[in-house]
Symmetry: C2
Subunit: 411 residues, 2 copies
């Protein structure tokens, strides 16, 4: 039997990592797969650039040349954006190639279509690297789903935002300075919107939702907030309670209904995401049988992400298949009526008129910023904010030092 | 095609959990496996006890009756001790049954023999539940090993010991009181030796070592220390440095040599095990490509452990196979010459004569206990302890606030 012929789309950070691993781990891969892995062609966007790619490998800017490689077995996609990636992968599937992608934006938008197309063509489609880089969250979820129903996920899925929040707290600096530090360190792009406005985390939670429930969530279901508005004041105030601000993508499945959010959250010290610092990603999975599992590790980076892609490659050819999940889910219609705990920040105590005070509430003497933990429904919070635009409200996750009083109890 | 016929050995906490899941998840399992799962027989040690087991299921104290079940496909073992489990599983393999076990003591002692026997008989042998209960550490290691070389593992593998250490620190209590609290809560057995003397964690790190390197470590290679000697003083002293004492099973692979320890370690706040509290287990895996991954979750308990067993069951019949790893490893012969950081505790400063002081070193005024972080080789530490038996020395893992001075520099 012949070699496994691979076409690689893109030679950026991730693509070049895939190239390195395939070149340097030939023996290991052959012992695992019983065949040589032959990287036959690489799609680049600038043919003139010197990349030190082995001369026997086809390097081209024309995808059709990749597709024309005889007996091409698998296409690994490591480019960004929905197009041209979607067209390329769709063509590759039609030709009967297995697909491996690290492209979260593409897979969040078109994953469902690609899975259906792959199923019809009886080829595999793998995407471990598209969520949390080297952290094997997709594989772990497949493993757990064999028995468990996943009822909740809380995750830090964007290392850049997490680094910035850690930096603001540790360096007592402002968002823009922390962002600059992230850009200097190469953690953030020149245009950071994809990270700090929550799009990247949003794409990833969409992919996890589709994996868990077999359907893409209506995007209007999903509340998406970034971290631009988080001030050092807010972080210090949360700190004075023993809490931290984290940018959390969460998914809650209850009574056949689904609630998905991507937003800053205040978490207490005993919350599993409290200790996740810097550029790490972390995923906290609650299964009905296994309970709470936490996976933490590098959410990006050349070799971790490429490693996840090669793990996918081995799985595809060692026929590790996963039956697709399909569940009937609907939006939590009564989300506004759900009572939960909130961390409310205002600039003066009188803003809290009519709100039952929480004993832990404190006053920051630097600038009169003051905060409360309150128990309220989403509807009540909306009313509160309509009444006073200066209030900042974060959802709270974890355990307060003492029971939180119901807000507006008798107001 | 007929049903999948399962024999279950043992009906304790884990066994009854397996029974519950198979009974309650029939539909889910059938949709995953394409066959019904038929729990045909259960081995118990007291036939008279009322267990509410469905009447159509054979319940017996005679293993041969289980083995005699026609077309028995798989035997799930959930009893304790090396025997009679080993004899039972060996017989089952000979009969051509797949094997799933949660028995760490058995698998640490006989895993190698069982794997070889299973390979010869071409049946599967799975043991996800034997290490860290519901935390999918075996599956994750198999996944990573497809590409990565695992160079280091640091793990909290015994929830009882971890609970006791958390309890001593949080309640400012003594070891024996914390142990009693663990026993009251059902976390510790009447005879706690298996947990608090490190045997349980020892068995688990042996299993992981054999998974990673394809051979059982020489047990004399492994330093095994428990937590009985850890005093509140030591924990408070470590705390005054911003450190915590954890019971850590560790494995370091370097230059073809292996070092394995099961012992109390002092870890700094940025160490991934620092935040692991209570009965949780956690495994920190360092792969040469993926970097550092952390898995954390319930290391024991009825449903988490049973869930791992059923995940194994599905994998066995969905033919998720893993090629065995075989590496040439030897003991780190020069282990005593390796320089590392130690946390040294004494009762008076003059015990530290000849040891370079570390600026962070402090004096606990309650009872003159005093500590140092020092850099030294194992040989130097042995000399130090030979000179002064009252010194307590813990290995240190993490990042000290400032560089640690070399001990005995000019002594």
């Amino acid at each position: 039997m012949g070699n496994i012929k691979v076409g690689l789309l893109g030679f950026g950070t991730v693509g070049s990592g895939v190239y390195e691993i395939i070149e340097n781990y030939q023996e290991r891969l052959e012992s695992l797969l019983g065949k040589k892995v032959d990287l036959a062609g690489i799609l680049v966007n600038d043919i003139t650039k010197e990349r030190g790619i082995a001369p026997e490998i086809l390097v081209t800017t024309d995808f059709d040349e990749i597709l024309a490689i005889p007996d091409l077995d698998v296409v690994i996609e490591a480019i960004v954006g929905i197009e041209p990636g979607y067209t390329y992968l769709s063509k590759a599937i039609d030709k009967g190639c297995h697909i491996i992608t690290a492209n979260k934006e593409l897979f969040a938008h078109k994953g469902r279509e690609l899975k259906q197309q792959a199923q019809a063509k009886n080829v595999e489609i793998s995407y471990e690297a598209s969520v949390a880089g080297g952290v094997p969250v997709i594989g772990t979820l497949h493993q757990l789903l064999q028995v468990n129903s996943v009822v909740k996920i809380e995750a830090i899925l964007n290392g850049t935002s997490n680094y910035i929040l850690s930096e603001i707290r540790n360096e007592r600096t402002a968002f823009l300075d922390a962002l600059q530090s992230a850009q200097t360190k190469g953690y953030a792009e020149a245009d950071p919107s994809n990270d700090v406005d929550g799009y990247d985390a949003f794409y990833k939670i969409v992919i996890l939702t589709e994996l868990l429930f077999g359907q893409r969530p209506e995007w209007k279901w999903i509340e998406r907030k970034g971290i631009r508005d988080i001030s050092l004041n807010h972080i210090q105030l949360a700190e004075s309670f023993g809490f931290r601000l984290k940018h959390v993508a969460s998914l809650v499945y209850k009574d056949g209904a689904l609630k998905i959010d991507v937003e800053p959250k205040v978490v207490s010290e005993d919350h599993p995401l409290y200790s996740v610092e810097g550029v790490d990603n972390a995923v906290v999975i609650t299964g009905d049988l296994v309970g709470q599992l936490k996976l933490q590790g590098p959410g990006a980076g050349k070799l971790p992400t490429a490693s996840a892609i090669i793990e996918d490659l081995v799985n595809v050819f060692n026929s590790v298949h996963h039956s697709p999940v399909v569940k009937e889910v609907k939006l939590l219609h009564d989300v506004d009526e759900q009572e939960q705990t909130w961390f409310v920040i205002g600039n003066s105590t009188d803003q809290f008129e009519g709100i039952t005070l929480f004993e832990e509430s404190i006053m920051d003497h630097h600038d009169r910023v003051t905060g409360r933990l309150i128990q309220a429904t989403g509807r009540e919070i909306k009313k509160l904010k309509a009444k006073d635009n200066d209030l900042t409200v974060y959802p709270f996750s974890g355990t307060p030092a003492q029971p939180v009083k119901k807000a507006f109890a008798t107001a």
